[in-house]
């Protein structure tokens, strides 16, 4: 196997065929990334970028706790969002692949529609819903609660609600796909071998749904680390997350090197977390269940 790969590097015909892909990757991905890295080593003067090489930005990044607090908060929110999405999405996906099979196409269309509706629109919709004089409190009063029973707008709770709401579909679809692929006779075989419904689920369905769960988790984590709409609109900008900090640094503070440096930090951490995920996952798969 490895012999083939080694030789392929020296095969000019093969390299030629790979050229378009290599070019595309270089111009669209590698070059901007390298430019961003280069940008972090520049200085600004009077809100103008001056091309002087310096480590000033990086000393700033590594000495100010503020940036790291925001990063920590972002990672915490993203992790919580992943956990909540998986907890909600799994039963939904499971029902879709089993009990609601007859309606699964309708449900899938509905989820897709909700999913494709512009996230900004939906997020502002939540503001109207959660507002002190909004629909949520109207309903709460109707149910006999006193005063403003729903008072979470402009808190981290509202941010989390928006994040889970906007990202949930990713987990539903990835998990649904992996559950749907499970051969029904495997579950029957588990029953036949003497397994209870719970045991069959635990020993067969859940382990086989694992690829979808991991895929959904990685997708949602990467997207959740990058959210700026929800903390701004639903969280009221009171506890910004990394993406919002980066936006402010570029737009409001017009400090491009710092913005670029914060971007690199966020990217590195996100990539590191995903690699860690991957390692644990492939390790588990390699060893198999105990």
């Amino acid at each position: 196997m490895s012999a083939v790969i080694d030789r392929s590097w020296r095969d000019p015909a093969l390299l030629g065929k790979a050229l378009p892909a290599v070019l595309l990757q270089t111009t669209c991905f590698l070059a901007p990334l390298l430019m961003t890295i280069a940008l972090t080593f520049q200085r600004t003067r009077d809100f103008q970028l001056s091309w002087t090489w310096s480590l000033h930005t990086w000393t700033d990044v590594f000495t100010k706790a503020h940036y790291w607090t925001i990063l920590g908060h972002t990672l915490f929110m993203a992790t919580l969002c992943v956990a909540l999405c998986l907890l909600i999405a799994f039963p939904v996906a499971y029902a879709l692949a089993s009990r609601l099979r007859a309606f699964q196409n309708h449900v899938k269309v509905l989820i897709t529609f909700a999913f494709l509706t512009d996230a900004t629109l939906k997020t502002f919709g939540w503001v109207l819903f959660l507002d002190k004089n909004g629909a949520a409190n109207y309903l709460a009063r109707g149910l006999g609660f006193e005063g403003d029973a729903v008072n979470i707008l402009f808190t981290d709770w509202a941010t989390m609600l928006g994040m889970v709401y906007n990202l949930l579909a990713f987990a539903i679809f990835t998990i649904y796909l992996s559950i749907d692929e499970i051969d029904r006779s495997l579950v029957l075989a588990a029953y036949d071998a003497g397994a209870s419904k719970f045991r069959a689920f635990w020993e067969v369905t859940l382990p086989l749904a694992r690829p979808g769960i991991w895929a959904g988790a990685v997708l949602i984590f990467l997207l959740a680390v990058g959210v700026f709409l929800e903390p701004k609109v639903l969280g009221g900008g009171k506890s910004p997350m990394s993406a919002e900090l980066i936006r402010q640094t570029f737009e409001t503070r017009v400090n491009w090197p710092l913005g670029a440096a914060l971007t690199m930090v966020l990217m590195t951490v996100a990539v590191f977390v995903v690699l860690l995920f991957n390692r644990v996952y492939s390790l588990k798969r390699h060893l198999g269940p105990a």
């Binding site: 495997l186 075989a189 036949d192 198999g288």
Partner: protein
């Protein structure tokens, strides 16, 4: 009880007793009152065209389906309402259903693990199954996808046998294999059945397989049992034209029963052969005078020498010749235009070429007569 149709080969209490079960899926009647008894240690094959209800019947025995009415008892115990997990049955699935995320050892040991058997005992019994199935011990740590089709088959069999079920249910497990491997595993199944003495109920659409393996064959069509009997009975004494046609190639000659008495009947086939007598043993029960069908298997026809005589004689014009290697099959037309298939042992010279007419004969003992109608 009629020995041929429902009965078992002895007087022992049946291990499986199915009484008049019915099952509908919506408006579709999958099982229309099926009764069947299986003796302990028997190898029973359930055969029929797809959609005949054979797999549905098997699922009722396994506990994956509950009948609308009727009763199922295994070893004298009523099974209605008993979940699959609690039934003393084990199924080998069509697609094998090996757990892809478990090693071979975990797959085979799974039923014991669920029964809370300790790890040491499980390992010992898995090893014993591996030996019984003639698998290599180094396969234990592999995953199902790393094994060949035949090896996966053996692992699936090992998993279903390790819990020592009273009934082993096989749902066409050999249907996806190539012919050569199929032959090997058929022999293997037969050997297993003989060595472990478990009762096998084997669903298949492959009649040759059923004839090879089973002690008794149960032929189903459209949710009903048409005939239960030993392979030879099914082959030479089919219950009706459908069973005759389903099981191998056959000839159904339209004949006329002229008269019936206790000893037999006088039949004639206008335009094919003249009047002949058939003894009662070669007739389906309850036949009356009138149109009937005379069945003769292709391999029982033989060419007649110019001065030779046979109980029945007919002329056939050969239209096609298929060489099967050991045997050669001839498709021909009789003098009245009806088709005839006959099969002769292969030889370097052919008794007749395409377009030639050959005189054939068959003996009185090699036929079976049953009710007329279309040869469906």
């Amino acid at each position: 009880m009629n020995w041929n149709r429902n009965g078992m080969t002895g007087q022992v209490a049946p291990i499986l007793d199915i009484r008049d079960i019915r099952k509908s899926f919506g408006a579709y009647q999958a099982l229309k009152g099926v009764s069947l008894s299986v003796a302990p240690g028997e190898f029973l094959a359930l055969v029929g065209p797809s959609g005949c209800g054979k797999t549905t019947l098997l699922k009722h025995v396994a506990g994956f389906e509950e009948p609308d009415s009727g009763a199922i008892a295994i070893d004298g115990q009523d099974m209605l309402g008993v979940p699959a997990a609690a039934r003393p049955t084990s199924m080998v699935f069509q697609k094998l259903a090996l757990f892809p995320h478990m090693s071979v050892a975990d797959n085979i040991g799974f039923p014991l693990k669920l029964r809370k058997v300790d790890a040491g005992t499980i390992a010992k019994r898995v090893m014993a199954m591996i030996e019984l199935m003639q698998l290599k011990p180094e396969y234990l740590t592999r995953f199902p996808r790393q094994l060949s089709g035949g090896e996966q088959q053996r692992v699936a069999l090992a998993r279903s046998m390790i819990s020592e079920p009273k009934l082993l249910l096989l749902d066409e497990p050999l249907s996806a294999l190539d012919v050569k491997l199929k032959k090997v595993l058929q022999a293997e199944l037969k050997r297993l059945h003989r060595s472990v003495g478990v009762t096998f109920v084997h669903v298949t659409h492959d009649l040759e397989e059923a004839m090879m393996l089973a002690d008794r064959i149960c032929v189903m069509r459209a949710g009903e049992i048409l005939q239960v009997g030993q392979p030879n009975d099914i082959y030479y004494r089919p219950a009706d034209a459908f069973v005759a046609g389903f099981i191998g190639d056959t000839n159904l000659l339209p004949v006329e029963i002229r008269s019936v008495d206790a000893a037999g009947a006088a039949v004639a086939a206008p335009g094919i052969f003249g009047e002949a007598r058939i003894s009662a043993a070669l007739m389906a029960p309850g036949l009356l005078a009138g149109p009937a069908q005379l069945m003769v298997r292709p391999e029982l026809l033989a060419p007649l020498e110019s001065d030779g005589r046979a109980d029945f004689e007919l002329d056939a014009r050969v239209s096609e010749i298929f060489s099967k290697g050991g045997t050669v099959q001839y498709r021909a037309q009789l003098t009245d235009g009806s088709p005839l298939i006959f099969e002769l042992a292969g030889s370097s010279t052919q008794p007749a070429g395409i377009g030639e007419t050959i005189r054939l004969g068959f003996a009185n003992r090699d036929i079976y007569l049953f009710q007329g109608g279309n040869a469906g």
